[in-house]
């Protein structure tokens, strides 16, 4: 394999994962596409077709931690975490500098409210959310000090997948996933899929 070290060019839009160490003249070089948007949708709005969550409007500190976790294999390596395993190799070539550039880029995307795709019992989900609120905030706005990301505004189908993954031990079980380890028992406390759907339906009501 060729050297897969990735450098980041000056932030001309569309050139994030740029030229590796290879004589440019020798190859039909064009490795400068916006990988994030391929899966995560135009302006990072999320793509249900790929099961890739929205990035636009999400907290940079949380995105940073997840990119670092993916890069280190702390997330996205459990055999049953199918979506995570799609993401994980994408993060591997990133450097600290390229993560910083990515976050700056993503930060420029306009936030648009996520489409609501769930039809479950939000009222039944409200009391379940009380436990979540202590970390994620009563409006699901997130709390950086506690390392808990915003939930409001995220794609509901993504939240469902992640709660199921935490509950089943597909996420949050890696020894180095400190915050995931805090989340896992919380998800485990949700009794079943119905409870998961209900609590996410409640989060949908919190708007953003």
């Amino acid at each position: 394999m060729k050297n897969s070290a990735v450098t980041v060019s000056s932030l001309v839009l569309g050139s994030l994962l740029a030229a590796p160490a290879l004589a440019q003249s020798e190859v039909a070089e064009y490795y400068n596409d916006r990988y994030c948007m391929t899966c995560h949708g135009a302006d990072g709005m999320g793509s249900e077709g790929i099961s890739a969550p929205r990035l636009a409007g999400m907290e940079p500190w949380y995105l940073k931690r997840q990119l670092e976790n993916f890069r280190a294999g702390v997330r996205g390596t459990h055999p049953m975490d199918l979506q995570g395993r799609e993401m994980q190799p994408m993060a591997v070539p990133l450097t600290d500098a390229s993560i910083a550039e990515l976050l700056e880029w993503i930060g420029g995307w306009e936030y648009k409210p996520a489409e609501i795709t769930l039809q479950a019992d939000a009222a039944a989900g409200a009391p379940l959310y009380a436990a979540c609120a202590s970390c994620h905030g009563s409006n699901a706005e997130g709390n950086e000090a506690l390392g808990a990301p915003a939930l409001a505004g995220q794609n509901d189908w993504y939240l469902v997948t992640q709660l199921k993954n935490f509950k089943a031990g597909y996420r949050g079980t890696h020894a180095d996933d400190t915050y995931g380890a805090q989340m896992a028992p919380m998800a485990a406390a949700l009794s079943d899929d119905t409870a998961i759907l209900n609590v996410v339906s409640y989060i949908n009501t919190l708007g953003r």
Partner: protein, 524 residues
Amino acid sequence: MSNPVSRREFMNLLGATFGTGTLIRVSSALGLLPAVAALTRPVLAAPAPGAGKVVVLGAGISGLTVAWELSKVGYDVTVLEASNRAGGRIMTVRSGDVVDEIGNRQVCEWDNEPHMYFNAGAARIPSTHRNLLSYCKELGVDLEVFINESKTALIQDDAMLDGKPLRNADVSTNVRGFLGELFAKSFTTAQLEQPFTESEAETILGLIRGFGSLNRDMKYTGSNRNGYASGGFIDHGVQKEIIEFKHLMKSRLIGNTLSANEGETGPILMQPVGGMDRITAGFTRALGERVKYQTPVLSVKVRADGVDVAYLQDGAPQTIAADYCFNCIPAHFMAGIENNLPAEYMQAMKYIRRGEAIKGAFQAKERFWEKEEIYGGISWTSAPIRQLWYPSHGIHKEKGVILAAYDFGNGMEYTRMTQAERVEWLLKGGEKLHPNYRQLVEKPITIAWHRMNHMLGCSARWGRSGGGMTPEEEALYHTLQAPALGRHYMIGDQISFHGAWQESAILSAHWALADMEQRVRSAA
């Protein structure tokens, strides 16, 4: 054999055989075995003044077909392609090319020679795909024959004869011998009193004898159909030993030796000289500046009288207001592109699952297969690489590119591997067929369509039940085939019953063009 087939059972079998006409029509309706494609190029009229602006999303072959047909009659067409190249899953890899897999960028370092390429996606053109062939002719794309089956190629199965590779012909000859004897035992003249005449019975027995290469006593005692063990030219040929069916039946692959030249690979197959992307190049040459690369679509908004498309060019947002939009962006991406498409249309789009096909290829340091009397064709193995394809082109050159794996349906295991793991997986599979394979090949290229940038999947999967589309799925399909607000058409092999064939994509484009033409005319 201890339990012969009764006459009644046999007649039932014959009845089923004679009824296949009906079965074939049903299968065709299910998309399993399409009829020969009729030439379907729509007859289009020039657009009315000020009403001929068309935007095509995606430069796959369906989009290029639409763009070309509409350009010819005077429409003002723009093709927006997100990646740097046209063709989508029509992709040829050759020296210097980048394989733009997300998270696993590869650069092809094969010798820079015209025959040193590999078709990473579409690779075969059946002679029945008349529309595709007609474009090849129109666009000056030279074709050559593609060899799909070589009787000297190999069949290898760990479960059969200790995993020893057998020649295709040795398998098929002995399988047919066994089956022929079985037929003959089931079907003697005594059982043929009615409804056949004596001469009809003889015809049937003659067919059975010929099928199995049986002797006059209707016994299989070996054949020269699979060549001689030695001699045969200027001295007596020595017949090969029979391989007993009890050994062959251990492998599920043996059927491939009887069916490779049937179904969609039954007609003579062809390939463009120099790579499948010569077809794409033919279209883009004809379309010129109309095709814009690296212009990802940001939003699609359908109006009652047109479609507004926003896209990026050189990092800056641009817009096009078109009268019609033809969209071959893979359906799974459209969910991530802002749009106002109707809910039921998006629901149908989101229903489609992504195909998982994979391929791999090596540069072979020498054309070792030719030393084994293999020229073109496919070897089959029980190893997960499933297939090795020997090139039909570049015969007797120093080197060649060997297709090192092709799994059409179940590629996720491979997709999730690192490049190094994939290469080892390819080598392990190839070694089953050619023991010194590892020493003979170099410079691997791996293709996992599920991870290719701007594609992230192989052909669309509509059916989730494993047996074609259910009526509900078919309804979703028709929802997506119909134009949104009469202005926005989804096209491509994703809008067909027969994914992963270029002909399907072209027919989908023709269907959309004909529908548009009808709307234009009825509005006029």
